[in-house]
Subunit: 454 residues, 2 copies
């Protein structure tokens, strides 16, 4: 029986993360402080432990994964690389379609790949508590899990409307021992200020970030953690691509295309960067590799945004980062891929796109659900709405292969299962879902406020 | 790095199921028709395909798993055997605790292990449609998945109260292309009759079974499928124990205890019977093996039921089967382990318990959730409420080892993840869950109606 599920042993979990900062075609633009000068590491020390700050700034190509982190990873890693033979047959394509399945983690997504090392480094630095924000709860549940593994108390500010409407992931966080508060809350000055003028505020990710950062900055025993966008988060996710490379080695194949959903950029960078590293190193197999970041048409930061300095958060608390952005106060439509509604893209993802080394494509919501349903009905797994974006483009590329007759090897990142997103599928089936284009005028407005530093 | 997650390759998926009918200590009592004479295979032919009927009656020790079934299994099998080192450390026990994790299937539980072969055999027999019933939806979602894999139309009668209150698994079934109707429905005579007198009937599993069987019996292109209790279903689940045996072989260990939740009996039989087969064959390693079936105190069919002939379904449509039963019209309390509310136990499980070859223990609801939360906080995975029953007893046995100093090897069946059961955890955390003893008087009443055939 031909193996369509390529597994690795526990001792094949990669020993090092891959840091693409070592292989960028041009030097990255440094983050800037509010005064326009490069941000200094010590400015981050109030909310991040030294090891994380070092990783954020590092240009070392390989950074060792601590033994204790790899031990937690063994709970679900290495994750399987699966050949989607039934999807291939349904499409009638000569392409070989593979997916790396990250939905087998206890939280059901790839997010614990960064939550676990972040909890570890904070624990190692003597930190006792972590704060973070969460929208739909994918990141919050991952940090709740990771905090529990290292004995850290975790406090999560959850956007109030999600807290009330999406109880399942909140309950996961509580099952893993985290405190979850609806944001805005009475706990922080930020929250109290908002509640004073708007007692019924539904909250926003921007407010929740502000609350989490405020608490972390004000307490010596408490740090903050972030689930995407930053360099160290993207690097932690490189374990996905590194494992996939080992798995392709086992079957003597190499992908022609690597496809991933792209919100903040960590799931895309996580699977694509190790292959791009091969390309940078002159690996012949990677010569023609195409890496495609897939974003929603409603939040097309790469394909429609501007490459400029912008804040990482909605409120303008973070250093300014050079990235493709729709403007930090841009609010996308309420699509179901909650993880793909970030206004910008990670710095290195942005730089590589600017330099033409990666591609980006924006896809409308309905087409992604159509692809997700086709995938579920052939390969069994019901994908998260975020993952459906990658599936859409993988199917489109496989159909192009059908036309051209090319037996390309396609790899995509199946970032998570959709068991918490079934109401989105219900809306799709009942015809209640719509496509949203991005509001060009609103983006113009949002971008017009930027531009102090290009 | 010591391997705590023992994996098998795709080509190590067992080639045959193990059928304990070949190794029973006494001959099984045959199912009886309504006239008290042994039921004949042809009586089942209206709703089951020939291969399933043959398996139901077979006493062959090994039955080959069709290649096409194994190909579907490769989507998630072999499932991992995991050593719960973090739980062991938290308990301070010298015991080695292992669990076989079945929650990685697309449906999130062990149920597809039987749904897939059932769909296959029906497809092979030229059947175009399957009907089944479902309560909370674990079985319904599995048969929806399996039907889709073989191009069968699937119609699921879902207990109306679950249909309305538990939309997530219903949406999974629809995502996999199944039709789902709230039961009682206007589709069947049974449903119409009930709705005529009780338009607001919340439905019951008994009614839903009747509807599904009625439709299957009345249409030549349509068969019925069942998710537990019957011999062939339990045998299909033996893949769990067979894989676990191979995995223990790889690390040179053998379990002293095998523990599983027991509702209808397929998850218990599935993991325990292959080891009991070793014992029957005189395997020295299995000499002292203890197999423990864990049931809820609210539905204690093995520990408090009577060993007698009873109907398999609530309405008395099926042949009479010799089993431990609380009476077929016994209705247990509304506990959260929906899968453990069956009034009886599978025939071979019952026979082995009667003969003293397996043990059974009943545990109260709160203690199972306590165990499940401890497991989630150490091993990461949030378990289904059914699985929490096995975890409770595994922890209790590990704590006994702590007292005695014995380094026993404990294996339990982690039948599914709890991502669809988070509201049950909420009720537990908020103190709203109660323990339920079984209503002895109601059981007496229910049993008093039986006894025609002992």
């Amino acid at each position: 029986m031909e193996s369509t599920r390529i597994l690795l042993e526990a001792n094949e979990i990669p020993s090092h993360w891959y840091n693409i900062a070592a292989d960028l075609p041009v030097p990255p633009s440094p983050p800037l402080g509010p005064d326009g000068t490069p941000a200094r590491p010590e400015q981050l020390a109030a909310i991040f432990p030294p090891a994380i700050i070092e990783q954020e700034m590092s240009s070392a190509r390989w950074i060792e994964i601590p033994q204790q982190v790899r031990e937690i990873f063994r709970l679900w890693r290495p994750s399987p690389l699966v050949r989607a033979v039934r999807l291939e047959a349904a499409l009638g394509t000569p392409a070989k379609i593979f997916f790396k399945y990250e939905g087998g983690s206890p939280a059901g997504s790839h997010k614990p790949n960064s939550a676990v090392p972040q909890a570890y480094y904070n624990h190692a630095a003597g930190i006792k508590r972590l704060t973070t924000e969460t929208g739909a709860g994918q990141w919050g549940s991952s940090i709740a899990l990771a905090g529990q593994m290292f004995g850290l108390d975790v406090r999560i500010y959850m956007v109030k409307v999600s807290y009330e409407q999406k109880p399942y992931r909140r309950l996961m966080m509580q099952t893993w021992g985290a405190e979850v508060f609806p944001s805005p809350s009475e706990i922080t000055a930020t929250g109290r200020k908002i509640l004073a003028t708007e007692p019924d505020s539904p909250g926003s990710l921007g407010i929740a970030i502000s609350e989490a950062v405020e608490e972390a900055a004000g307490r010596a025993d408490t740090n903050y953690s972030l689930g995407s966008v930053l360099n160290h988060v993207v690097m932690h996710q490189s374990i996905i691509g590194l494992e996939a490379k080992k798995q392709f080695d086992k079957i003597g194949l190499y992908p022609d295309l690597v496809i991933a959903p792209c919100g903040g950029g960590s799931s895309f960078g996580g699977i694509a960067f190790p292959f791009l590293g091969d390309k940078a190193a002159g690996d012949k197999r990677a010569e023609k590799l195409r890496a495609i970041a897939v974003e929603p048409t409603s939040c097309p930061s790469l394909t429609k945004g501007r490459y400029t300095y912008d804040f990482g958060d909605a409120s303008g608390f973070t250093p300014l980062m050079k990235m493709y952005t729709l403007g930090h106060d841009f609010v996308p439509a309420g699509i179901h891929a909650g993880g793909l509604r970030y206004h910008g893209a990670a710095q290195h993802v942005s730089l590589l796109y600017r330099e033409g080394l990666i591609e980006a494509v924006a896809v409308p919501q309905l087409a992604t659900f159509e692809a997700g349903v086709q995938f579920a009905r052939t390969e069994g797994i019901i994908p998260a709405p975020e993952s459906c974006h990658a599936i859409r483009v993988a199917i489109d590329e496989a159909l192009r292969c059908k036309e051209s007759g090319e037996p390309k090897v396609i790899l995509f990142n199946l970032t998570g299962h959709g068991h918490f997103d079934m109401t989105a599928f219900e809306r799709y089936f009942s015809g209640k879902l719509e496509d949203y284009d991005y509001p060009a005028a609103a983006v113009e407005q949002s971008l017009a406020k930027l531009g102090r530093y290009e």
